[in-house]
Symmetry: C3
Subunit: 201 residues, 3 copies
């Protein structure tokens, strides 16, 4: 068993850590604390930086990378190959599927679902001299679902329980309960018209 | 050389296994067999779960993840960073390029080509109480080609030797021999009108 | 500390190499040289093949894979999970973000920015008998910016300082200074009309 756990890492009860995992990697050499709650399952080849506070029941797939200064609730899962940047807020029971990208300043409220290969952005004008001062995180409200390979433009808000179709490019705010899809994404219905979701609302 | 090979793994003749590879990882702790045929090349940092039956000449790139209960034919390759979930059927000579995502219940017949970052889906209404009971795998018929970064919606069938343009979102069945592209993808031609494919048909 | 550095690897001054990194992996068993300049930072689980010439100040994220026969300038960064194939030319100060895909014969001039999950292609008709003889690399001119999850079709040229919107599918050449977006991408403006870029032009 070969893992690299830095100082300042606190794990709750009953942790399961896979092979070739790094926990508490110091960002730019800074020794920050990393706290993960009870019953975590961190699968092989995953890297979690120092400076994160993570709740109970946390699970990762393999080859996940999570940078520093994130706050992650209870019973969150992050799928294989996904990348979470820094200063991200992730509520309880959020599920991020495989190969997704979540950049700095994103907020994912309770129960949000992020499909495979979803790409969230935060820079309207990337690689400009003032880009770093103008980042706008997305705000994903409780229980919204972002379909596979969708792209979310900077600063948009996706409303409660809204559903974004796979492959959509979302360029503006999405109302609560709305179903949107396309490039650019347009409202095509409401989630409370969908049998599968009625039961859960 | 540091690899992790669990019990119940059977490798054919002349295997080549890269550094920091995991073979036979037991899904939810279940000790299932993993069988891989002759002349496999499993590149570094790849994880293959127990419960798979894989043919001869199997190749992976680096950082690949393949879950349990898949049937994979002969001379299949899976590119760097790709993720194959469980209960997937992959025929002979299928080539899956880099960073692709293939979820449970997908069927890829003989000679299918999956481009880089292709995202296949299986849940029309993700993260609903009944999602797991309503998964619909895609069915990709012999020799079809799915262009880079295309998204395939749940349950669609792509016909024999059809070609899906890069970046398309495929929302309905694609006829045999058709060339489709766009969002949503529409038929724009036939593969037997394309010089490069005529020779192979 | 567990890394695998093959013979024929030359590192400049002050290298920083993360855990479970492979440097100089011989493509198809060929022992080629790998040269990386001063002050490199190669983060964990990254694989760089032999046969590359890389300048000073090179940085990678985690889980990066770079194949052989590439020429990479000074102060280039390649983000977590990105894949660079072979015979790629990358100029000084290019930044490739996370989970991007850059195939063989691509040319990225000085200062190009590639967003997260960008997919570059090179095969108009993939998996045909003559595909390998007809690959057309993209040509990305100085300072252009390719938005997140965009798809670039084979052989296109993106002009100097042009900006490609997130989620676009770029099917033809993009003029210098143009802002394009959509599927297929169309010109919607000029970068010198954008305050953030004016300062840098």
């Amino acid at each position: 068993m070969d893992v690299k756990i830095y100082d300042n890492v606190s794990l709750g009860e009953n942790p399961s850590i896979g092979e070739w995992v790094i926990l508490g990697y110091p960002p730019r050499g800074k020794a920050l604390p990393l706290s993960i709650g009870d019953n975590c399952v961190i699968r092989s080849h995953t890297v979690i930086y120092a400076g994160n506070t993570i709740g109970d029941g946390f699970q990762t797939g393999h080859h996940v990378m999570i940078r520093e200064n994130n706050t992650i609730g209870d019973f969150v899962s992050v799928g294989t190959g996904s990348v979470i940047e820094h200063h991200v807020k992730i509520g309880d029971k959020v599920r991020i599927h495989s190969q997704a990208f979540v950049p700095e300043f994103s907020v994912l409220e309770k129960g949000v679902w992020i499909g495979p290969n979803v790409v969230v952005t935060n820079a309207k004008y990337p690689n400009a001299p003032d880009t770093k001062n103008n980042l706008e995180g997305v705000y994903l409200e409780e229980g919204c679902k972002i379909g596979a390979n969708a792209t979310l433009l900077p600063g948009i808000r996706v409303g409660r329980f809204a559903l974004i179709g796979a492959g959509s490019v979302v360029t503006k705010d999405v109302p609560d309960w709305a179903v949107v899809r396309g490039v650019p994404a347009k409202v095509v219905g409401r989630v409370d018209e969908i049998e599968s979701y009625k039961k859960a609302l």
